[in-house]
Amino acid sequence: MQQVFAPNMQQIFMPLNSATRRLPVWAVYLLGVLPFVWLVVQLFTGQLGVDPVKAIEHALGLYGLYFLVGGLAITPARKFLGLNLIKYRRAIGVLSFFYVATHLAVWLVLDIQLRWGEIWDDILKRPYITIGMLSFLALLPLALTSNNASVRKLGSQAWRNLHKLTYVAVPLGAVHYIMIVKGWQIEPLLWLGAILVLLFLRRFR
């Protein structure tokens, strides 16, 4: 009887797991860059409003956050839901870095327009930018070691330890988002909440 009311999560996700096994990793990369392609299409068809730079900058930052949270969700999804997406975790991580890095590049080139004095001042004096840069710097070694050669070179345990930097980088990204909006807005707070829940779930082995 208990099965009827509380079916085993593993059984629910079993068909999904076999379906995702058939989806090749390259397809995830392809799907993952679609939001970027869509932004470019919107840009050239004039759908980004009167301030396309800000629209692109914000969208890239948000997409980066979505993928970062997606990457953090994979372990709890397997543990608590039986949904196994481990195969795609690297792709999701690399995609998140792609969006975070293009977000940073748009800020540097199109927004602040390479005024290095102001850029340096911003990084040092404006906490939300300081925090955003810290998050980027924490993600950078992870992106650089997201390949099999690096896993071999570092050794599995050291590589795993290094990649625990995501536990710092992702919440910093959400804090960066909370601080840039004016006032206390609900959406960025919900993202930070979701991240903290995903991190907290890791305490249960």
């Binding site: 327009q113 005024r115 906490p127 206390w184």
Partner: protein, 304 residues
């Protein structure tokens, strides 16, 4: 001295053009027009300002707004402000005035001189636009209300009507939106009560039917959809200062030297064009010639 600007939006932007897209004033005709603006206006001691070479399009001005009463997104006001009823409209003028009361908008407008003013509008978020307002000098209305000698400040309030202003259903600010000026700032000839732009009635998302425009201060001082003006002898509370006093001061004069915790104020992006170009921000948004005297004895980094 009556403030008589000779700069009109039609000098800068041909009417046929503003209806489609923003117009860069370049080439021979543009140079002539600019000569007229900068040279002539300057010669008469009026309000020439550096770096205004382009008036933003109606699309720019009406689709990129901060008006949290209609949501926090830049596009929200354009999307939702149509719900606002602006007729009938009355403005309560009270406090330290000889003639307090509820003034009907038509009655206010019948007793002031409406003129065109092209001002650069500098947002605290480090972007700017050039906007061809129509409106009247605030001091005309204050003089009519009869400011008493004990008055030192002017407080303003925006309409509260959550059923039409859906953003007011969330407590992002302590509604009503409040702003204030020192009396000398309010009486400055540059201080405008705007009633329109590009020669047409003010669109709702821009603060219809009546909003303040204080061109040497950050945009959030220019309170929209005003329903109350109160003369006081104490410095009034202002919304963003109440929300975050460390970030938003009472004066909030545009000042590239005093940086906001979140935005460097050294430069600004000019909204308009495919990608907005960045320019240096000027002290008092370039209007120092007309307003700096009011702050001669103040430490503007302490009283920001």
């Amino acid at each position: 001295m009556r403030f008589k600007p000779d700069l009109k939006w039609s000098d800068v932007t041909p009417k046929a053009d503003f209806l489609n897209r923003r117009q860069l004033i370049k080439g021979a005709a543009g140079a002539l027009a600019l000569g007229g603006i900068g040279g002539a206006a300057h010669a008469k001691g009026q309000y020439a300002v550096e770096g205004i070479d382009e008036v933003n399009s109606l699309e720019d001005i009406t689709s990129y707004n901060n008006f949290y009463e209609f949501g926090t997104g830049k596009g929200d006001p354009a999307q939702y402000a149509h719900a606002l009823t602006t007729d009938p409209w009355t403005v309560k003028i009270d406090g330290l005035v000889d003639n307090p009361g509820d003034y009907d908008l038509a009655d206010i407008l019948a007793n002031v001189d409406i003129e065109e003013r092209i001002y650069r509008f500098r947002c605290v978020e480090a972007w700017s636009m050039v906007i061809p307002w129509n409106g009247f000098e605030l001091r005309q209305l204050l003089e009519r209300a009869g400011v008493q000698s004990s008055a030192k400040y002017v407080a303003f309030e925006t309409l509260v009507r959550p059923e039409e202003m859906h953003g007011q259903r969330s407590p992002i600010l302590d509604w009503p939106y409040r702003e204030g000026l020192r009396l000398d700032e309010a009486m400055n000839p540059l201080t405008l009560m705007a009633t329109g732009l590009y020669g047409e009635d003010l669109p709702n998302q821009n603060g219809a039917p009546l909003r303040l425009v204080v061109p040497w201060k950050y945009g959030f001082k220019s309170i929209k959809s005003i329903v109350r003006i109160t003369l006081t002898d104490t410095q009034p509370e202002t919304s963003w200062n109440m929300q975050n006093p460390r970030e938003y001061g009472f004066y909030s004069n545009v000042n590239p030297e005093v940086s906001h915790p979140r935005w460097s104020q050294a430069s600004e992006r000019k909204i308009g064009g495919f990608f907005a170009s960045r320019q240096d921000t000027l002290m008092f948004n370039g209007y120092g010639e007309y307003v700096a005297d009011m702050y001669a004895d103040m430490d503007l980094s302490a009283e920001f």
